[in-house]
Subunit: 303 residues, 5 copies
Amino acid sequence: MTPRVREILSWYESDNPGVKTNLARMLNHGTLGGSGRMVILPVDQGFEHGPARSFAPNPPGYDPHYHFQLAIDAGCNAYAAPLGFLEAGAASHAGEVPLILKLNSHESLLSDRDPISVQTASVGDALRLGCCAIGYTVYPGSSLAGEMYEQIRDLAEEAKAAGLAVVIWSYPRGSSLSKDGETAIDVAAYAAQIAAQLGAHVIKVKLPTAHIEQDAARKVYEKEKIPVGTLAERVRHVVQSAFGGRRIVIFSGGAKTGDDELFEQAKAIRDGGGFGSIMGRNAFQRSKADAVKLLGRIMEIYR
Amino acid sequence: MTPRVREILSWYESDNPGVKTNLARMLNHGTLGGSGRMVILPVDQGFEHGPARSFAPNPPGYDPHYHFQLAIDAGCNAYAAPLGFLEAGAASHAGEVPLILKLNSHESLLSDRDPISVQTASVGDALRLGCCAIGYTVYPGSSLAGEMYEQIRDLAEEAKAAGLAVVIWSYPRGSSLSKDGETAIDVAAYAAQIAAQLGAHVIKVKLPTAHIEQDAARKVYEKEKIPVGTLAERVRHVVQSAFGGRRIVIFSGGAKTGDDELFEQAKAIRDGGGFGSIMGRNAFQRSKADAVKLLGRIMEIYR
Amino acid sequence: MTPRVREILSWYESDNPGVKTNLARMLNHGTLGGSGRMVILPVDQGFEHGPARSFAPNPPGYDPHYHFQLAIDAGCNAYAAPLGFLEAGAASHAGEVPLILKLNSHESLLSDRDPISVQTASVGDALRLGCCAIGYTVYPGSSLAGEMYEQIRDLAEEAKAAGLAVVIWSYPRGSSLSKDGETAIDVAAYAAQIAAQLGAHVIKVKLPTAHIEQDAARKVYEKEKIPVGTLAERVRHVVQSAFGGRRIVIFSGGAKTGDDELFEQAKAIRDGGGFGSIMGRNAFQRSKADAVKLLGRIMEIYR
Amino acid sequence: MTPRVREILSWYESDNPGVKTNLARMLNHGTLGGSGRMVILPVDQGFEHGPARSFAPNPPGYDPHYHFQLAIDAGCNAYAAPLGFLEAGAASHAGEVPLILKLNSHESLLSDRDPISVQTASVGDALRLGCCAIGYTVYPGSSLAGEMYEQIRDLAEEAKAAGLAVVIWSYPRGSSLSKDGETAIDVAAYAAQIAAQLGAHVIKVKLPTAHIEQDAARKVYEKEKIPVGTLAERVRHVVQSAFGGRRIVIFSGGAKTGDDELFEQAKAIRDGGGFGSIMGRNAFQRSKADAVKLLGRIMEIYR
Amino acid sequence: MTPRVREILSWYESDNPGVKTNLARMLNHGTLGGSGRMVILPVDQGFEHGPARSFAPNPPGYDPHYHFQLAIDAGCNAYAAPLGFLEAGAASHAGEVPLILKLNSHESLLSDRDPISVQTASVGDALRLGCCAIGYTVYPGSSLAGEMYEQIRDLAEEAKAAGLAVVIWSYPRGSSLSKDGETAIDVAAYAAQIAAQLGAHVIKVKLPTAHIEQDAARKVYEKEKIPVGTLAERVRHVVQSAFGGRRIVIFSGGAKTGDDELFEQAKAIRDGGGFGSIMGRNAFQRSKADAVKLLGRIMEIYR
């Protein structure tokens, strides 16, 4: 147990040893084990975007076993997926990589300006599948956000009592926000705060832009001269917004992008005090060899 | 146990000794302990308004430990916050300051004319975190008010059976009310009455203006010549509206304002028979030294 | 036990002895005890209309203890109020007057054409407060009436199993009705029938006018020459509509009115075979001495 | 919060903040508040030994209010009693002294060589009465000990989840033990260990003699030369046996004895690293003035 | 994941991935991780035999933290203990060593010819403490064995549903057996079979002697010429008796003995196809340096 991991665990002072154990399992696993940084492989795009959009660029990804093995080969801290994907491979790969069961899902056949991600797995499923954590998506800004807040509250209470960690994907969306607003720095910081207040142990947000969405927020950013010009500064602000750095915040890059940009993002996350990356499409939409190489280089940046 | 606290406890005649014990813990704690007056530090603005708007003016406030320590150093009767903030510091500060767990929250990314504050923590959470009370916000006047009334009814019954006190934030909002109406004296008095009828032990309302919102009410105020010209008179009317003074009513000032105005408000609350203040942004958006000084002067007014 | 009370109790032949005991407690209490007639004091206007509109005309009424004492001094059969009002005085006045806990409430800040009265207390609350009955308001004609019917069904089942009587306030309102229709004789009779079919032991309706709201009903009233010309005739028709007189039906007069009119109403209720009055504002919006005198004269009419 | 209390709380590292808060409430209350030592007033003798044997020596003790006031006047850290005694005074003394509800009781009308103490109150009772802890007696060595172990396991799990501390009275008795064996040093140390393994936060044992009951133990005490010659040495050994000093162990002297002996016992408890005394009959079987004086002198020894 | 561990996991084909994950966690941890062999440190003697008999030979063992650290330093696969011992250190050592919570305990103050080990912890406790498995002792041959079989059946069903592995200590005792019979080869093999049939994933038995206890069994052993002359042969027979080698069987040596004998035993376990050792007193009753050395040499034998 490294001093850094011990320090991180100390932040979760109200949690039982079970939760701390499962956080430690994720923090101590893989290439970055013990560093206090994490790279997580999430593969929920099949449900979220459909199979062809997700897996046709690299067809082995249609097979759920592929992603377990990718997470293992690449030395990720954890692998996150919905019920079906985990059920299809959790026995074969028992004990090989920490698992996060996504408890809710959203499909994109539906054209909904105010999305809701609905429950598609349970805390009991997470236990029977040997997971370290539950995952849950909230959409701050959606008119249905309240329903998700109430559901994750209920599920998080149950998960924590059973010693499972809670990972919240906090993705602003909905009719209250402009498209740019979804990744605006004020909104991203707010999304991180909401997840932290909901009791998340690990918070996943998108990398924010310098755009400021809310008028009421803009006044404060300008008056207090909050530095948000560089990506590293924005990462630092988001991490600060998650309880002054007392919660693990990891960042996703979103859609597939160029590798150099990914490395720049990782450096900014590292320099801004972020805790790592959650990288899905950029990882599983290329060959496994390439993906392992890519993730390895990202991990080198964090180490 | 002072005669005044004993008198106040006697008003809660249907409550079990557990509820009385927790009310006594809050009434007897801190600088105002035993006086029958309370100053409570609430920090739910991170969820309600976003992190930068809340904490950028005094960045140590991003850290949840800061607010525990502020409430302790300032001698507040209690500290109120949502789940995440309390989880992040309740073990380190166990037994140092009475805690109120806010059981519902509302985020302001959403543009909602008829707001609803949704459940984000439970009575079980309040017990495991060692809280003295649950807190809950209702928005009288919102078309969704009924959902909140039913939820707090359910939660309050559960909390009281477990010996926890119930604090209701009663904030009129919604499409039925004009902006001025939200703090109109008739509406504020009504909001206090609703909270009392819902079974609140402690009621938090905003300081009211002399505006009268409802036509049906205006006739009565004029006919009965209810004095509402001064702030102290309006406080007196609101306290009277909460069961003729048999319920603890405390007042919030809202957004950050000048210190002299805060002192005037505190004097009016005192002179009108109010039970104290709940002061968030005016406290935590300045340096801790200044906040302790400010709260100390407010407490001197109440003592 | 008088023959009349014994006869009334015999109508509730499916109910358990607990329900009969609680009905008997109300029927045998106060000035009218044993007569089969009832005068009930209801004070739910604080929640329904706001505190100033309710209590400013007689300020001692802000204090919940006042109404317990008024019901006791006036010799009422029962006192009905929402949770907060009963909690605030039920221990001091334990055993002094039968209590009815209003389980739902509606606030008038909201501008709603189709009102719903939401649950604000529970059967468990009624038991722990020592009540004889639960009270519940339905709004026949509101588009949300169904939600109330389902809720009272559920609550009534629970209350009866616990030996509590069920009192239903049946007040037609909503976008389906004209203003005059709310007190139309066909609508009032219909409201009484609905309450009876929902399983009410005691039904409270407003005194009806001779107006007929529904075309389909008008044809029958005309064809069958149902006498509804006088108030006594209309009372008789409403009582008949509540299971041919096998259910206790009591009448409210609504807003404060002249005393002579009240006496005329009581005589009509008596002559029409009604079971008594439920009188709120006309009682508590005058001095206690005057209220006791007024109620005494009403009771003399019924005796 | 003194460093010593903070240190003690740190030992309970698996417990939630609620448990820590209630431990802190007891450790910080009264004359010894903050010292890490405790003097608790227990009055369960009415049930255990009968009323005359318990209260006739000082008849005001028949009144449950007497003992609340004694604990308050003497500055005890907590007052422990069965359901009836706490119900009879918890409201009047709400918030004045930390309470421990004894959840099981044993009566001495029964001549049972293998005693069992049966459940006479619940965790829910403890919550509604505003208690800081539950108390429970086990009789190691009784052929019925297993039933008590299973019951306190169940109750302790429930209590801890609700934030209540767990105090176990561990009193060896039963046909397996000689009379001398009940207070033998090997048996007392074993009793402390059992309570600690059952998950007790606070352990109450009787002051042990130098007698050794078990042959298998005697060999070890002799071989390892465990010093048990003086009372302080025996206290030290018992404290060591409760997780090497990581659990609060307090001692009872049993039947009424001379004051000088009590002082000597307290000095031995202090010198042996014990955490304090639980003193019943020696306190409440003399006049209140004398009891307050006696307890005050005991506390001086611990301070 | 080594082929051997993968093979072992394949035997538990009805179990969910959670159980397999927790078995893998134990099989993959520590010095023997991946070998398919296990050395487990169990410290339940404080409850079973008393503190002095357990810890006086090496007094640091009174402190629960000591045993966590010993298991970690020695590279054990897991550490097993009762509730109190795990609660006292599970947070500080979260994630450092797989934990097995002993769910039942037996104290030796009691002179019971037919022992029963009673429940002193729950599956919920195991989850909140972050354990990989529950442990449970049965006493085949005790007249109370049936009660334990029924209880572990119930607990095992609950544990497996939650993904926890089940470790059964199967220790023949009771009035039906002679003292020699408790470790007789026929009885030991039978005990292993019973544990396997009860659904254990890991079975702990004592090293058997060549004695045969049961007449009915003796006939078979003689007729079938089952080789039980050497310890390795007896280990092989016991492993065979646990589903032909499809269940993990580990052996305990019992009381402290000479090191050379321990090494001979380990070699016999290895040569007989046993899966390892569970070694308590021989480990924690010497200095930690010596214990780490001893356990290291044992592990070398297994590697």
